[in-house]
Symmetry: C2
Subunit: 342 residues, 2 copies
Amino acid sequence: MTRSARPRRATAADVAQEAGVSQSTVSRVFSDDGRLTRETKDRVRAVARELGYRPHAVARSLITRRTNIVGLVTSDLSNPFYPRLVETFTTRLHALGRRVLLLTAGVGEDLDDLLPEVLSSQVDGYVVASASVSSGVVRECVRIGTPVVLVNRHAPGSGASAVSCDNVAGGRTVADALLAAGCVRPAYVAGREDASTNIERERGFFTRLRERGVTDVRRERGHYTYASGREAARRLLALPERERPDGLFCANDITAMGALDAARELGVRVPQDLAVVGFDDIPAAAWSAYDLTTVRQPVEDMIGRSLDLLLAHVERPDLAPELEVLPGTLVERGSSRRKGQA
Amino acid sequence: MTRSARPRRATAADVAQEAGVSQSTVSRVFSDDGRLTRETKDRVRAVARELGYRPHAVARSLITRRTNIVGLVTSDLSNPFYPRLVETFTTRLHALGRRVLLLTAGVGEDLDDLLPEVLSSQVDGYVVASASVSSGVVRECVRIGTPVVLVNRHAPGSGASAVSCDNVAGGRTVADALLAAGCVRPAYVAGREDASTNIERERGFFTRLRERGVTDVRRERGHYTYASGREAARRLLALPERERPDGLFCANDITAMGALDAARELGVRVPQDLAVVGFDDIPAAAWSAYDLTTVRQPVEDMIGRSLDLLLAHVERPDLAPELEVLPGTLVERGSSRRKGQA
DNA sequence: CTGAAAGCGCTTACAG
DNA sequence: CTGAAAGCGCTTACAG
């Protein structure tokens, strides 16, 4: 056991000495300074490889004031919408030479204490796709110079940019879809009461129904979870027949899947007795067990735009915040298709 | 617009000056050095709060040679098993004052190029719950002194510790469960061919069947995905009746869900005509659309043990690697319960 | 094109 | 109990 347990890592100085150049030159080779001779570069690279040298990211960050790490804040990974978001973000950021620091909060937890701590120079900016961070903390991050982009939520007055799907238009589309499917007693199963997505989808849905003369619309609480959708549907389906809804807009897909399972358990036929529409278009919506009509969020575009905005703000902290709203698309499947429809 | 767009952050020196102490003292206050007077501490803390000072994590890392960041490597977040793992890991590490750097690879991508790059001092260690990193890269990380713990996989000879479920025993249990359910022609739908989990579950299953006199067992390829499970089941269910399986062990739950949907589409009754068993016990396995019998992995314990091992190795790099195998539990649900069973 | 030197913001022996 | 000083491993003006 003569070799030490943890050999000292080679530094730029080690490489410099071995290659007969200055430490500055080694540094320039690895920051791709164009002025160096090809010959010098090659020699330094060869020595570096031999010694297993890699620039020390932390030392570099200290002086460049950039970590190349983006903080990604999500909550509730049990809703498949978020893992998909996380995977796409991560893949894209890796392609851009950035890393992802993940912050998640279980349902009900909040991350307000965590963000400022992480801010201590560990990330260049935040993407926040979660309601578990208060608008106040978002504002604070922005104030001290850390760019924040909100995805799939708002925080008015926070100074952060935001990218989301047109939830109001989505809600309106669902209203039309349920009426087109022949529903006469549509109902709404809500998501988290304070979530901007829930408020907007609900507003679009109710407004459009009212425009079309449907005013007596039931509403059940939910929490954007499978269990809450199942329970809400059970309550609705237990109503006396003349009050029982024949169409359900669930604030997101996972809630709708719970509702569909409740219908299945109770022997309520979908879509004949009950049409169901969700929001998100998670992969499971297309599975034959659910075959769920839903509003597809343009996830790829939303993420692309968020990253454009975030990285632009990292480069130029003085840029004004932007709000982007991208259109969703109704995807019609079996859960709302009536007999006689295509 | 006289205020600068990005105000300079307060440093320990700023606080020191304002509080009338040395910079060392400020540092000691924030690293909880016990020797300071209560009075000094309070004064420094007050000034720090006033100036909005927080220790600069990068500068601290440079000298302590610790980032307090753990790299978490997963693949395929579309399998709900992994988001759950990610969420649990993240929550636990946050509670321990650590951060999570997430590395994901889409299906088929590999992360071999990425890991050594990130290694450049950005993480204190890795938790690898993915087959997308080769054993060679794992060995390399360990060699240069970065602890690695593998979860739900092996990499023999890599020098990394590993924590997994007893996949062989799990496979055996499933064999017994299918026979108990009255199956006479069980079949196996595989996962990724090179994955240690797949190899072990398959071995346990086939070995036990052989012990109990069942030797003619069909096997279909799969990829640990919903689509591959559905297709494998369609192939099996298209066989002439006397060859058609009446029991299916799918290498994981998401595959089993695809198989169940294939059966549903073809009008094959579950469990009467076909019993199905999965592996993992993801939340969706309990949903009434699937009601899937499965082997539950002890996720909480696996993660607890992995973190214990990882953090121990971060403290003491010379510790020998350990291998832990934790037992799974059969969870019997409707997909394998025959008439007359409880 | 390349080098010497300052400095990023901390921690931590070493003194006292 | 507290301070002065060295140093972690880089980048980047400033010279030449």
